[in-house]
């Protein structure tokens, strides 16, 4: 069995590299992002679009498989031209063509996209998670950003979820330090490396 010291010397460098990736990922959250789903360009997932997908119970946000209609709805909502006009929605969806379409493959692509948007807080979106107050986590996030920055909630709703999460983490760090507390910080890539190290060190993986 490898000693903890030997294992740590193997993981110390991995941890530094993971931290560098986390920092880069946080910074890149502020840059425009482009994804292609089923051959169609989509932008970053905003808070508003996420809530709409949750409202219509889109199967893709939880990693499920959907129908062709579910797929078209997702692409419409994530498109740059998305609006509340049902006629425009129909026109957009009617024009959609697919060179290659396997609903299983698309479901995986779509879930990868959702996970990427939630990557800042961990591997999975965990959309059913509630904070201790019982509020939807998005309510808490909007309340925090609005009260700290004074931004209008409509502007916050258009923020990419990745940006909202990066800012929320930075805000929690600042607030903790201002109140004399040491903030507990999370870094998805680095935390994953640490978890792997602990599993191996404790003989659980």
């Amino acid at each position: 069995m490898v000693s903890t010291s030997a294992l740590w010397s193997e993981y110390e460098e991995k941890l530094k590299e993971a931290h560098a990736r986390d920092r880069l990922g946080e910074a890149e959250s502020f840059l425009p992002s482009r994804w292609t789903l089923a051959g169609h360009d989509v932008g970053a997932l905003s808070i508003r679009k996420y809530l709409i997908l949750e409202h219509i119970k889109s199967p893709f946000i939880d990693g499920g498989e959907g129908s062709l209609d579910d797929l078209k709805n997702l692409l419409w909502i994530l498109s740059e031209s998305f609006c509340e006009d049902p006629e425009k929605a129909k026109a957009y969806k009617d024009k959609l063509t697919f060179k290659r379409l396997s609903i299983e493959e698309f479901s995986l692509e779509a879930y990868d996209y959702v996970k990427w948007n939630f990557r800042i807080i961990g591997k999975e979106p965990k959309t059913d998670e509630k904070v201790e107050s019982g509020l939807h986590w998005i309510v808490t996030a909007i309340d925090m950003i609005a009260s700290q920055y004074g931004w209008a909630y409509k502007d916050i709703m258009e923020m990419p979820i990745r940006v909202a999460m990066v800012l929320s983490n930075a805000m929690l760090r600042r607030l903790a330090m201002q109140s004399g507390q040491k903030p507990i910080m999370f870094s998805p890539e680095a935390d994953e490396v640490k978890a792997e190290f602990m599993r191996r060190a404790n003989g659980n993986g």
Partner: protein, 116 residues
Amino acid sequence: MAVTQDGTHKFGIEYSPITIDAKTYIAEALSFNKTASRVDIDDSNGEPVGSTIIPGRIEGSATIQLEGTDTAPAVGDSFNLASGEYTGDYIIQDVSETQSQGDYSKVSINFYKQLN
């Protein structure tokens, strides 16, 4: 429940594995503080004429990442640092509530160096 350092790495660095009751955790953001108190001597007019510094405890803090659903170390647990500038036995005096994000859970602890 004793906590012992495993390895020869220096503490005071950003991360370090620690072994608690034969279980390894990751301690991060380790920091230490050498405390002291100042005693002033004033003359009859209340003006300071001398001071002396009395060394206090060495205190520290860290964040500990837990594995899975493991429970956090408890207040009163002691641990030993076997190498580095802050070698010695330490007692945990504060443990925060567990905070989780995604798949990971962490607690922050404050500790002080045991006198004897």
